[in-house]
């Protein structure tokens, strides 16, 4: 029995080595962008400890060419920018606990969370804090923590502070559960990005502060009316939502397509410039994303977020997240195209450093002769 196992193990080793050899040789042939492979050596192992190296300590180059340790290349991109594969649902407008150790050598951690990352005035800004022992998973007494908020770019004189409570009131969900809650209704003076701090002061641990950030806005000044329609076209699925726009602007809508049992399929989005009034905004789900999922409909459109984008300053006003927005007709996955997306290529004239128009460019700050690599490579 033991001998059979040894034989099998040996055979597997031989097969594995052969497979690796074929793979490496094949990769060298198949990828013209990679440098040629002329011989094979093992990948470098962890180097042993050595004295601090200096530039002069560079080792001599190998006398023979050896195999480069070329990392795997990613596969081709097969979906367009407006459709991406979804591995599991996520909820826009939320974030996650920021977690830090309570103190050096302490195993407890402080956790701080904004109930919502996107807060639309006049809804309150709600913050949670807890101290958790990771070994037991239990929350412990945090001795009356505090929370404070201010505009992200403001100074320390702009803080608004409040005690956090654990009495089941003022936004706190459960009294005495050691999850502390603070609730702020700051009004218009805090519109924009907001920095929040949770502050814990415990004996032997000192004062610890944990940051969070969130977005406090008046919303996108547009909303989904709740009317949707769906249709297959050109091998893809088109989802259209009706919008009521209060003020013209640039809007981005993002949604997640899932199967009848909430199987994740795709994240889709679209951006349009819209005037005030009622409009339809259309999302395209690239057919291959559905086809490859092998999930038949009806599909559900979930986790929909509408944003007003202010691209000139790199910011945005998000709306509320709609967890379940629409159910499509019962399409089948095979109704959709399996064609991969191919990015259009129509490049114009290439202008680089050698182009006649660039003769007046300032010279490089450093000449080629100064390249350190020129001095060290090839020795």
């Amino acid at each position: 029995m033991r001998g059979e196992r040894r034989f099998a193990a040996g055979a597997l080793l031989v097969l594995g080595a052969l497979a690796l050899l074929l793979y490496l040789l094949g990769r060298g042939r198949d990828d013209p962008a990679r440098p040629p492979v002329t011989a094979l050596t093992a990948a470098p192992a962890l180097p042993p400890a050595a004295p601090a190296a200096k530039a002069d300590d560079l080792p001599p180059l190998p006398s023979e060419q050896v195999a480069p340790l070329v990392p795997d290349s990613p596969p081709p991109v097969v979906l367009p920018p407006d459709t991406q594969a979804l591995s599991e649902e996520f909820v826009p407008g939320t974030t996650e606990w920021d977690e830090v150790p309570l103190g050096e050598g302490r195993r407890e951690v402080i956790r701080f969370l904004a109930a919502h990352y996107n807060v639309i005035a006049p809804q309150p800004i709600v913050l949670y804090l807890e101290v958790v022992d990771p070994a037991t998973g239990k929350r412990i007494d945090a001795a009356l923590p505090r929370a404070r908020i201010r505009p992200f770019n403001a100074g320390d004189d702009a803080w608004i502070e409040a005690a956090m409570r654990d009495d089941g009131q003022g936004g706190d969900e459960v009294a005495g559960d050691h999850r502390y809650t603070a609730s702020f209704s700051p009004g218009g003076k805090l519109l924009g990005r907001v920095l929040a701090e949770g502050v814990v002061e415990l004996a032997k641990a000192g004062v610890r502060r944990v940051p969070q950030s969130l977005i406090y806005t008046n919303g996108p000044r547009a909303h989904l009316t709740g009317r949707w329609r769906d249709e297959p076209k050109d091998g893809h699925l088109y989802l259209s939502a009706e919008l009521a726009v209060e003020a013209a602007g640039t809007f981005t809508m993002m949604a997640q397509l899932v199967g009848p049992a909430r199987q994740p399929i795709a994240l889709v989005r679209a951006t349009d410039q819209l005037d005030a009034g009622t409009h339809w905004m259309t999302l395209r789900v690239w057919g291959k994303a559905i086809r490859d999922s092998e999930i038949d409909g009806p599909y559900e459109v979930r986790n929909v977020l509408l944003r007003r984008d202010m691209t000139e300053r790199g910011d945005y006003d998000p709306g509320p997240t709609i967890l379940s927005a629409h159910h499509t007709r019962p399409y089948r996955a095979n109704d959709f195209s399996e064609a991969a997306y191919v990015e259009p290529t129509a490049r114009g004239e290439e202008i680089g450093p050698g182009h006649p128009s660039q003769r007046n460019n300032p010279p490089p700050l450093h000449g080629d002769s100064e390249r350190h690599s020129r001095q060290s490579i090839g020795r």
Binding site: R34, P35, P36, P44, P47, A53, K54, A55, D57, Q65, P68, L69, P71, P74, Q84, S87, F90, P92, G93, T94, T95, E99, V100, G103, E104, V109, Y117, F152, N153, L195, V199, A205, G206, V207, V210, P211, Q212, S213, P264, L267, R269, R307, T311, R313, G314, E343, T345, R347, E350, I351, G352, P353, S357, P364, H366, D368, R371, H372, S373, G378
Partner: protein
């Protein structure tokens, strides 16, 4: 070098943090010439342009490739990430070179979202040969270029790619070509930004590191914006983690030796290296939370191939294309360091060893 730049400068200049939402200065410089195309380098957290604002770092502020230089004056060995990223040795011993352009920005006095807008405006000027942003007075014009970034530069290029707000750069036929390379990119924020946020108020927390890590403990808008919750919040809103093209990630190796290089090789920046190890112990290291000293691999390593060797974490918000490409022993202080030049970074006559951050990665950005 990079971390020590920001750390030292922030220790020295700890006051006068600006409150500004307007565009901050950016600068564009051709650092190295080349014949094969152009690679643009975007540095990590640091104020390398706004001398009148807080935390200005003269080393990168007065030298376009200061951020990328492992300066001997800073404990390094003189190696230059930008140089080595844009060189390949040919079989006949000649060099093939790529042009290296540095974009500098202010990553301290504004959130990374604003810094991303500044950088994008400068890149658009480069792509069009214009100077709308003020970064390109010489009207340097490059219709296509690859991208290599480090640390916060990862959050910045990810936002530029994910938002779709800059089609001149990222759309079909946009100027950014190939797969951007992120070396220790803060794609999902930096846990250190959160863990060290309140260090000034802790009576016994990381006391041996207070001065050294002050760069992260300082409450600058740049640091505050790079907390994990901020970046994840942006990703869930669709403004991060949605890159429509592959981003090639150079990450830490993970594991207990990944905090620093002490277990791997001797290094010139041994002081920084030791302190990065202390930092791990101070702010909490676990085997499921591997770190390079500043970024935590599993938090900062959303990836589309989590089963790769030393693969990262598949985060649902990161629906875009993020390839766990090269695992490096480099830590965050000296992401380009002599240990890797001597062990893995050299080039032969026919190829590069891309395992070393810096070595030849510019050509892979194409």
């Amino acid at each position: 070098m990079r971390s020590s730049i920001l750390i030292t400068s922030l220790v020295v200049v700890s006051l006068g943090i600006a409150s500004t939402a307007e565009a901050n200065k950016t600068r564009l410089d051709i650092v190295w010439g080349g014949t094969q195309g152009t690679v643009v380098f975007i540095h990590g957290k640091g104020n390398c342009t706004e001398s009148s604002l807080g935390s200005f770092d003269s080393r990168c502020g007065n030298d376009a490739h200061g951020y990328w230089l492992n300066s001997p004056s800073d404990g390094g060995d003189g190696h230059d990430f930008m140089d080595e990223a844009t060189v390949r040795v040919n079989a006949n011993g000649t060099l093939t070179t790529w042009e290296a352009i540095a974009i500098r920005y202010d990553g301290e006095n504004q959130g990374f979202w604003s810094a991303a807008n500044d950088v994008a405006a400068c890149l658009k000027d480069l792509a069009a040969g214009t100077n709308g942003s003020g970064c390109n007075p010489s009207l340097v014009h490059r219709t296509s270029f690859g991208i290599v970034v480090h640390s916060e530069g990862g959050a910045i290029i990810d936002r530029i790619l994910s938002t779709g707000w800059f089609p001149e750069l990222t759309g079909p036929n946009g100027a950014i070509i190939g797969s951007p390379v992120t070396s220790a990119g803060a794609l999902a924020g930096a846990k250190s930004a959160s863990a060290l946020y309140g260090i000034d108020g802790a009576s016994n927390f990381c006391t041996s590191l207070v001065s050294w890590v002050a760069g992260w403990a300082l409450k600058t808008p740049g640091t505050q914006s790079l907390t994990r919750s901020s970046v994840i919040g942006e990703a869930r809103n669709g403004l991060a983690g949605k890159s429509p093209r592959w981003v090639l990630k150079i990450t830490s190796t993970g594991g207990s030796g990944s905090c620093n290089n002490n277990f791997v090789d001797g290094i010139a920046e041994s002081v920084n290296d030791s302190k990065l190890g202390l930092l791990c112990g101070c702010v909490g290291f676990s085997s499921n939370d591997d770190t390079d000293g500043v970024l935590w691999q599993f938090d900062t390593d959303p990836t589309s191939n989590p089963s790769a060797s030393n693969g990262g974490k598949l985060r649902s918000e990161y629906t875009g294309y993020y390839w766990h490409w090269v695992a490096s022993f480099a830590n965050h202080s000296h992401n380009r360091n002599d240990a890797y030049v001597s062990k893995y970074g050299y080039q032969s006559a026919s190829f590069c060893y891309p395992i070393s951050p810096g070595t030849c990665v510019g050509q892979y950005a194409w």
